[in-house]
Amino acid sequence: MIIDSNKIQKVIDDSPQDKKQLIMILQNIQLEFHYLPKESIGLVSEYLGMPQSTVYSAATFYKSFSLVPRGENIIKVCKGTACHIKGADLIIDQLYAGIGIKPGQTTKDMKYTIEVVNCVGACAMAPVMIVNDKYFGEVKCNRATKLVKKG
């Protein structure tokens, strides 16, 4: 995937030039591209005047950042204890059968990425699946794929 550095630079230029805002700037870039393109580490480090290693260390610490391209639609399956004991694994199996990828993978056409999350504060409606920030509760596993496709 080729991303134009100018586009990244533009997102960066729109953010405050303040070291404390590092995480926010990374979040803004990710919002735009669904992941942190390689070039962004260098560009952010220049902009904020901090070593690339510092930017990289923050980018790799927080699990919401991805350094590899992700699909257009992000599917998150909760495997926190409450969801786990109510059958989160079955949702994952069903999704594998339905769209052919496992957690951590992205479909070839860059449409879907599946991620596992740990408790998203909706335990009462376990098992929970989130598709692009939309919550689905009490997911019946045989409907998981359908829900995803509908978005």
Binding site: S64, V120, A122, A124
Partner: protein, 427 residues
């Protein structure tokens, strides 16, 4: 039964708007504090109420506020901890998205009490919607003059910033959270110095949980004595409990401290799902030791649960039924904690890794005789020896699972499979 104080208007969809909030008596407490009370009086009132940290530690909030050194000339900060990520917990999210002004008001009063002019609310990255609601509430509060310069003509200034995290469990721990707000990796800090002395940007900082701060307006309106009249001798007031797992009516319930667990599970929760037998209860979020079915009458307060060998924690009650394999549960948990360990101290970083290897090999059916003893010894070497409580959080459920269900662990090693089959499909 339920005692709705913090959650009184939670079902009113308009409660998120400042006008509705005002019509329900909102911001009265803040006005009262600003116009009629001295900061020290606010602290006194909160001390009197006995409200304790609702995030899990249970430390009295008023006492914590009193730790700020009086003669320190540096600015002071208040941080509201909305990084709710303990598996099983869904209470702060509800407060932030359904009654955000309650949180803003609680933060405003608390900031006034500790002499802070800048308050942060740290919301976990996954909570996009609650964060939006909080942002909107802060904006509205500025518009109506409850935030900003010279609030209500009293000369008190307060700014509030909504900060979203990047998705790391450890950032729920206060010192890691401060690092994260400063734009660093969210790694825990050595204590002392405690945040009340040197916290955010090395200035005195108080970090309180959302639910703790949301209780403050009620305490100011009705008095500390009123709040302290609810609950037990040492655990005062009400608390939000998140009920999840194999029960009929999972949800969040606000109960007076000291209510028996059986009331929550059977009366409010409607009992077990599909009539299955109760096997274990995790009473305070996934990191607290489990309870057995015969302990179901234990009272939900800090002391009674400690006596029963567990903790009140964040009040997240997870109910587990007979169809659940305990090794399978433990394996998922340790995987989570290993992943979330920040890596600062060796017992936690390496210990959780070793535990994960041992437990997953048992779960896979490749366990060796002696593995259980190895796990126990590892747990003993992590417990109490880490910089922050994540290490303890990781080992407590494992230790208790082995203690209470040792036969199941042994069966797993000997027979290379689960004693009970876990089958949970929603068809």
């Amino acid at each position: 039964m339920e005692k709705k104080i913090l959650t009184k208007y939670i079902d009113d969809p308009n409660q998120v708007n400042i006008d509705t909030y005002l019509s329900h008596g909102g911001y009265k407490a803040f006005e009262k504090a600003l116009k009629e009370m001295k900061p020290s009086e606010v602290i006194e009132e909160v001390k009197k109420s006995g409200v304790r940290g609702r995030g899990g530690a249970g430390f009295p909030a008023g006492v914590k506020w009193g730790f700020i050194p009086k003669d320190n000339p540096k600015p002071r900060y208040l941080v509201c901890n909305g990084d709710e990520s303990e598996p099983g917990t869904c209470k702060d999210r509800v407060l932030m998205e359904s009654d955000p002004h309650g949180v803003v008001e609680g933060m405003a009063i608390s900031s006034f009490a500790i002499g802070s002019h800048l308050a942060f609310i740290y919301i976990r990255g996954e909570f996009a919607y609650p964060a939006r609601m909080m942002e909107k509430a802060v904006e509205e509060a500025y518009e109506k003059g409850y935030l900003g310069k010279n609030i209500l003509g009293t000369g008190y200034d307060l700014d509030m910033i909504v900060h979203t995290g990047g998705g790391a469990y450890i950032c729920g721990e206060e010192s890691s959270q401060l690092n994260s707000i400063e734009g660093e990796r969210g790694m825990s800090r050595m204590r002392p110095p405690f945040p009340a002395v040197a916290g955010l940007y090395a200035c005195p900082t108080i970090v309180n949980n959302v639910e703790t701060l949301a209780a403050v307006p009620f305490i100011i309106n009705n008095g500390g004595d009123w709040y302290a009249s609810m609950g037990t001798e040492k655990s005062k007031g009400t608390k939000l409990f998140s009920l999840s797992g194999h029960v009929k009516n999972p949800g969040h319930y606000e109960l007076e401290m000291g209510t028996p667990l059986s009331v929550l599970i059977n009366d409010l929760g409607g009992g077990m799902l599909d009539g299955h037998k109760l096997k274990a209860i995790i009473p305070g979020g996934s990191s607290t030791p489990m309870l057995l079915p015969d302990q179901i009458d234990v009272k939900l307060d800090y002391e009674s649960l400690a006596e029963a060998g567990s903790m009140l924690g964040s009040g997240a009650v997870i109910v587990i039924d007979e169809r659940t394999c305990m090794v399978w549960v433990a394996e998922r948990l340790i995987h989570f904690y290993r992943h979330e360990s920040c890596g600062k101290c060796t017992p936690c970083r390496d210990g959780t890794g070793w535990l994960e290897q041992l437990i997953s090999r048992i779960e896979r059916g490749e366990g060796q005789p002696g593995d259980i003893e190895k796990i126990e010894s590892l747990c003993g070497n992590i417990m109490g020896r880490t910089v922050c409580p994540l290490g303890d959080a990781a080992v407590m459920p494992i230790e208790s699972s082995i203690k209470l269900f040792r036969d199941e662990w042994e069966y797993h090693i000997q027979n290379k499979k689960c004693m009970v089959k876990s089958e949970f499909a929603f068809k």
